[in-house]
Point group: C2
Chain length 70, copies 2
């Protein structure tokens, strides 16, 4: 389970950086706290499907892409 959260966190961070979004901007865009975005990206937070989906969509990732190979 840890590996899953680490991987989806990395995928989100990668897409966020490609878009040149800061964690602050992504937090604003999703209505989540900036620290929460950091936790998700480091795989430290077992976020809900709802929050994970909102963050993924905000960086242009589908859930299918996000969970690829899991």
């Amino acid at each position: 389970m840890k590996r899953l959260f680490k991987t989806i966190g990395k995928r989100i961070a990668e897409c966020r950086r490609k878009l040149n979004y800061s964690q602050e901007y992504l937090a604003e865009k999703t209505g989540l706290h900036r620290n929460y975005i950091g936790y998700i990206e480091r795989g430290e937070k077992r976020a809900t499907i709802e929050n994970i989906r909102n963050v993924a969509y905000a960086v242009g990732l589908s859930l299918e892409q996000l969970f690829k190979d899991f």
Copy 2:
């Protein structure tokens, strides 16, 4: 969001039936309550990624398949 949970619930139920598993058996296999499986299948329960993954794997679905087109 409702549509997402409805769809993944249907996908899980479909695979469970194909395997001829009862909800009781799936509950036993995953350590979840039988009612909880019913809620997930009807899309009434916004389950955690952890529980959704355990249920999906127990019916032979990957997360990538489960979230297909989302």
